[in-house]
């Protein structure tokens, strides 16, 4: 091939190509070596826990069925059109030195009608189940009586969940009973977010100044992941959700435990931790049963019972908590320097430059928030 010699011809050029390839390889290797703040395998037993193609509840299943139907139609159209294109290319390509006479066709009215009407008919057929599922899905706005009510608030960059029936608030992780509709009533504290746990339902935007709703239902116990789906700024990628679907009995005992207030420890490092907490952390974090009642940041009443923190992004281990208290922004990108509580703008936890002793005491305290 004379043409390829043009690129790889001279030694100098070859050297340039090799250097470029090496740079690309080095960049790829660099891309492969990341930190490991989360290990989802600890809590999730499925390979693709966030997939829409493996629905785990009736709402997501309905969507999946509809998508499957459309994709079958689309695949048929794909095969026909690409097939016609390929046949035309192979049948009518000019062979070497062979100039066939070409009939100068300008068009064909009948064909035009055919390929206008057939797509219209196909689309009309697709439209019927689409609209019926769409209006049926309108039950997002119409909860059944036995639905579990959960209030959802989107914050930059974490989700807040309140269970009004039980009177407690938690963050990042929500628990629901299986086989019971769960009705989410959602709003945002700052910018637009979108609540999305794909195995259970499609997403729904969470807009400041508006209420939006979503119906979830899980068929089987399990852990499902989700995350904010509307770009909401710096740490949008780290605004995640872990959803624990549990048997009604497990859910009930979890909820009752969550509804218990915390007890302020009076002895040991935990008591010293409370000293620090009530001078610093109390400005933003609430702990039920204490005078910490400001809800700018996640409720910590039962932090120790959660598997993760920081927007369900970091595994809840003492080491990670320690690293977090040393320098929160090192584990998750945030802009606490831009916090303006008066305007409702909270963009992360500041670094309070706590001493090692303070941090150890705080961790001792947080471990008591079971």
């Amino acid at each position: 091939m004379g043409e390829s010699r043009v690129i790889f011809g001279s030694r100098r050029r070859r050297r340039v190509v090799i250097v470029l390839l090496l740079i690309a390889a080095a960049l790829l290797l660099a891309a492969c070596s990341g930190g490991d703040p989360t290990n989802l395998a600890r809590v999730v037993d499925r390979a693709k826990p966030q997939s829409t193609l493996d629905p785990k509840g009736p709402n997501a299943a309905k969507i999946d069925d509809l998508y499957l139907m459309v994709i079958i139609v689309a695949a048929a159209v794909f095969v026909l059109v690409q097939g016609a294109l390929l046949v035309a290319i192979f049948k009518f390509r000019q062979r070497k030195g062979q100039e066939r006479p070409v009939r100068q066709m300008h068009g064909n009215m009948r064909l035009e009608l055919v390929w206008t009407i057939i797509p219209v008919v196909i689309l009309a057929i697709i439209a019927v189940p689409t609209l019926s599922t769409l209006f049926d899905h309108g039950d997002d706005r119409d909860p059944s009586e036995n639905a579990l009510q959960i209030e959802v608030t989107g914050h930059q960059w974490w989700w807040e969940f309140s269970y009004p029936e039980y009177g407690f608030t938690t963050a990042g992780e929500l628990h629901i009973p299986v086989d019971r509709p769960v009705y989410l009533t959602m709003t945002s504290a700052d910018v637009i977010h979108s609540f999305w746990v794909p195995p259970l339902n499609g997403k729904r935007d969470v807009v400041p100044g508006r209420i939006s709703n979503l119906l979830l239902q899980a068929d089987d116990p399990g852990v499902y992941t989700g995350q904010c789906a509307e770009f909401c700024g710096l740490a949008h990628a780290d605004m995640r959700i872990r959803l624990f679907a549990e048997t009604p009995a497990d859910f009930e005992s979890w909820a009752l435990a969550q509804a218990q207030p915390a007890v302020i420890p009076t002895t040991g490092p935990a008591a010293a931790g409370w000293e620090t907490f009530s001078t610093i952390c109390i400005a933003c974090h609430a702990v039920e049963g204490t005078n910490a009642q400001i809800r700018i940041a996640p409720d910590l009443t039962h932090l120790a019972s959660r598997t993760s923190f920081a927007g369900a992004t970091i595994d809840n281990t003492p080491e990670n908590l320690k690293a977090w208290l040393h320098d929160p922004s090192a584990l998750k990108p945030m802009r606490p320097d831009l916090n303006k509580p008066s305007q409702g703008r909270i963009m992360g936890m500041p670094n309070f430059h706590l001493t090692d002793q303070q941090i150890d005491d705080l961790i001792a305290l947080l471990e008591t928030f079971q």
Binding site: G35, F92, Q94, V102, R103, Q104, M105, G107, T130, F231
Partner: protein
């Protein structure tokens, strides 16, 4: 009467800065778009490297958000739109038998505003960070942090880029309506010119809507207005309506020029007229109209209610019909032809194949319940790239290979061209097909990292390999383009056995385009000067047909627009205005100087005598 010269007598940088020649302006647009294509492509490569593996650390979250915002903003406003403008500028007048556009200095102004707008957006990288709120700039995120001026750069940059497009839209519409050669009726106009007309109207009607929205973002950010502040009674969703009322027609603004190019290339390389020509034209017009009625399909999870969602689901489904009509007519065009598989043809055929995939995934978005799973995921990223890369960019490359010999007088290497096509075709599909799967498996877009354990690793890695492959193909193209300077085969007037008027004149064309204004007798006029049909309807060459027209002694002298420095001056003034507005109140001084400069530019412009004549 002197001999027509094929070289512009005015050389040097100054002649480019003051040019009002539509061809030179077209070249400026084309080269600028290519430079921004390399910048936007580098941003894409960084994005793909970051996502090649879980918890990527090449980019910080902050840098990543700037990258994806600027990648989209660059590719949409600084690459595809100006690349289409390059072709329209260079070829629209020639295709309709005109010697320039209706308003040559306005044309220059459009270009200079565009290049200053691009410069303005790009310098933001060096003064505290580029825009990071997404190319869609959803409020109230885009109005949230007013202390950081990044989104001011975005709002004002897109604003003046919109102004540049609006001015050229007015220019092209006027050109088409008033400057066609004798006999060039609307229905004889090449399809590319028709698509340029539809695009110009789409720009004319859609840009004012985003202009209003962008002003509101700017005012919310800088003067404390409350258009999008929910806490004070503003409505965040208002922005989404304004943006997508522009944003969806914008998709057709990006794709229709490529469809026009494909409609020119396929007949030439099939040696057959465009099948169902009037249907291709009218379906383009239909897409233009319907394009204004589908915007809310970008908002299917915003909570519009089932009635609005159903309405927009139906309009979105049925916009597929005119699109399908185009595709079927293209296949009808090559059917029964004698296909010469040259590089422009490969890119046009690639366009059809890839656009079909983008069109079909587009129909799946109209299935509202399914879209609640798809939207804001990589499934959408896959879709838009099949439409805008597999579609628009493949179409534009088809146009580059097709018209390169006309513009430069030399042919690009076919071997390297084919290598470019195949490497790009493979790389493109490796990069973007896996994104359908990633989206369906739950990967949201605009996320700077993803954890292990969600199953996103494999396809992300493949996609990154694909992006690298695309980069290699672009390298092949650049080598090819560079190589033509010394190795390019001389093209002659009509290297492809073309059908339209640009192939009747020399390559590169003379400054005045036509020695004699052609009189047009039919569509594909040049083809019919070269070929007639026998009793069976087969094409038969006319001996000596298609000879160039030679000017006679009685032909009137040709009037050409004078060069002018004032469009550049006025555009520079606008650059100062927007730069000043970023830094209100201090910057108001600079903005004031800018206003004076704009006024100076327009005053000088209106006082400037029009004197120049060529031969």
């Amino acid at each position: 009467m002197t001999t027509p010269t094929h070289h512009n007598p005015h050389k040097g940088v100054w002649s480019w800065l003051t040019t009002t020649d539509h061809k030179r302006i077209g070249l400026l647009y084309g080269v600028s778009a290519l430079v921004f294509f390399l910048i936007g492509g580098s941003e894409a490569l960084l994005i793909r490297l970051q996502l090649a593996a879980p918890d990527g650390t090449i980019l910080s979250a902050d840098a990543y958000n700037q990258m994806f915002t600027m990648h989209a903003t660059t590719m949409v406003f600084l690459v595809i739109m100006p690349a289409a403008a390059a072709f329209t500028n260079y070829f629209l007048p020639i295709l309709i038998g005109a010697r320039d556009v209706a308003f040559p200095r306005l044309n220059a102004l459009s270009y200079w505003i565009y290049i200053f707008g691009g410069l303005f957006l790009t310098i933001s990288f060096f003064v505290g960070g580029a825009p990071d709120g997404g190319w869609f700039g959803y409020a109230p995120l885009s109005t949230q942090v007013t202390e950081i001026v990044r989104m001011d750069y975005w709002a004002l940059g897109v604003q003046i880029l919109g102004l540049a497009s609006l001015l050229s839209a007015i220019n092209f519409i006027t050109t088409i309506f008033t400057m066609r050669a004798p006999g060039m009726t609307m229905m004889r106009m090449p399809v590319f010119a028709w698509m340029a007309l539809v695009v110009a109207f789409l720009l004319l009607f859609s840009l004012p809507m985003i202009a209003v929205g962008l002003f509101e973002v700017f005012l919310d950010r800088n003067l404390g207005t409350l258009f999008f502040n929910a806490a004070a009674g503003g409505t965040p969703l208002l922005w989404q309506h304004l943006f997508w009322l522009f944003g969806h027609p914008e998709v057709y603004i990006l794709i229709l020029p490529a469809m026009g190019i494909v409609s020119e290339v396929l007949p030439v390389f099939s040696r057959k007229p465009l099948f169902g020509r009037s249907f291709v034209i009218f379906s383009g017009i239909a897409i233009g109209f319907m394009g204004f009625g589908v915007w809310a399909h970008h908002m299917f999870v915003a909570g519009l209610g089932p009635v609005a969602e159903a309405t927009f689901a139906l309009t979105t489904m049925f916009i597929a019909v005119p699109t399908g009509v185009k595709i079927f007519n293209w296949i009808g065009t090559i059917w029964g032809g004698s296909l010469r598989m040259k590089t422009p043809m490969l890119f046009s055929l690639g366009f059809i194949a890839m656009f079909v995939i983008g069109g079909l995934s587009g129909v799946t978005h109209s299935i509202v319940p399914a879209d609640t799973q798809q939207t804001d995921t990589y499934y959408i990223v896959a879709h838009i790239h099949y439409v805008l890369f597999g579609g628009a960019v493949f179409g534009l490359f088809s146009g580059i290979y097709y018209w390169w010999p006309k513009v430069t007088g030399k042919l690009l290497s076919e071997g390297l061209g084919k290598l470019h096509f195949w490497v790009m075709f493979v790389g493109f599909n490796l990069a973007f097909a896996p994104m359908h799967i990633l989206g369906l498996e739950g990967m949201p877009r605009r996320t700077y990292r993803y954890p292990k354990g969600l199953g996103f690793e494999f396809w992300n890695f493949i996609s990154t390999v694909g992006a690298m492959t695309i980069a290699v193909s672009i390298l092949v193209f650049l080598i090819n383009a560079w190589r033509t300077r010394t190795h390019g085969e001389i093209a002659g007037n009509d290297p492809w056995d073309g059908r339209t008027l640009e192939w009747t004149i020399s390559s590169p064309p003379p400054e005045h385009n036509f020695d004699v204004v052609p009189v047009v007798h039919s569509e594909d006029d040049f083809w019919h000067r070269k070929y007639t049909e026998d009793a069976d309807g087969n094409a038969v060459a006319i001996p000596g047909g298609g000879a160039p027209l030679v000017a006679g002694p009685d032909d009137p002298p040709i009037h050409l627009p004078s060069p002018s420095f004032y469009p550049l001056l006025a555009a520079f003034g606008m650059f100062l205005v927007v730069l000043g507005l970023v830094y209100v109140p201090v910057g108001l001084i600079l903005a004031g100087i800018g206003v004076v400069t704009v006024v100076w530019g327009f005053f000088g412009w209106s006082m400037e005598p029009l004197t120049r004549e060529a031969h």
